[in-house]
Amino acid sequence: MQAPSREAELPRTTVIRVGLVRHAAQVAWKDLRVELRSRELLYTVTFFAALVVVVFTFTFPRVDKKIVADVAPGMLWVAIAFAGTIGLGRAFDREREGDTMRALLLTPAPRVAVFLGKAVAIALLMLAVAAIVAPLLALFLPGATALFDAPLPLAVAILLGTLGFAIAGSVFAAALLRVRARDVLLPVILYPILIPLFVAATRVTSDLLQTPADLDDAWYWISFLGMFDAAFLVVSLWVFESLVIE
């Protein structure tokens, strides 16, 4: 903890608050620009997620219209979770290889802004993954096109699901940068605490695949996802600073 500087005593709260969003956007934009130059994560991680779906369609060969609502949601969210885990590890490894995490934390931007920017960038990557995986499932599985009959709840569920994953994931992936065995410890830490998120997200997806779609239940689980994300965001903002020290 550093001593409060003289500037901090000046009445600049509004400036700082605007600054937080701007700094977070700058961090996110930096990550996206690095990514758009090489497109390494975008290509490798989305291809990996597509492969997970293909492996699922081979390991569950007898999926028909009757059981698609039980099987497809699990495939969708397991593919997103696996791809997200790999993407998170790689995105933060990039900072470690260039030793740029320290530089990022040394910038005058508040650490919370660094966290928010990272989380947004990861969430965008995971949305790209979902944009590949969901149509692929609809293509491969009989009856899974019903997923797109109600695009709004599906989009909101995917948005909130990936956001929650990115929030908790960014905290722990950043904190794991300094320790050993980080590749395997990331899912070991993340999955137990994210089970409620996976359950709610698969419930929404499963509701949309019912005939007729159970939209009331879907929106109930979407609000559950929203509250889960809000709770995890608050905790992340609180702990990020004390977890990520250089």
């Binding site: 830490i189 137990p192 089970i195 409620p196 709770a231 702990v239």
Partner: protein, 238 residues
Amino acid sequence: MKRYVIPALTVLAAVGFVFTLWEVFVETPVQVTLGDRGQILVGQSLFFNQKIFYYHVANAFMLFAAVGTTGFCSIAYLKTRNAKWDDVALAAGEIAVMFGLVVLVTGSIWAKAAWDLWWVWEKRLTMSLLLWLTLVGYVLVRRFAGAGSERLAAGLAVFGTVAVPFIYVMVSQGDHHPQAGASGNVATLSGQMKISFWFSVLTFLFWFLALIISRVSSARAERRVRELHERAMDAGVL
């Protein structure tokens, strides 16, 4: 004082364990539910398999004590950054994994005997399993992440604590697990059953305290050695 407390608690736990074995299996009658006319209701009686209750529930009490200690001490550690809290959190976390394993195994055995199922996805079981998994993650981080993992593990404990109400809301299947609360069967235990049960709780409480005190002191010793090593490195002695 610690030199006497740990052996004393261990001896109390050992004596208590033998005593409760006697109480549970010899003194306490088998559980039967009686009908209006005093006849035994076979469908609602647990008979001999209720004996595992004295161990399952006593261990569950210790599990939740340990989990609560880990969560509370982790939050306190992140807030105060005083390593004393971290030692207690680590000790309680490891002990919670052990008690949790006992609870899950005894629960599973009892479920097979009483419901003819090894596992049911209902509230209490799901919650215990997920809490236990989070704690195993906590211990794995502490064991294998090396130096600097204390804060990380404390963060995990905080997130795990926040997830608990969501897990509770998430599980739709009703709570047909026997109640441990005021209206459940712990409060309504009769005569000898109540005595045996509370002796068992006391025994495992002694065991829990012996474990946690010894683990906290060993964690504290480990930390002191580490700090000394660092100071010796700084001073150029090593």
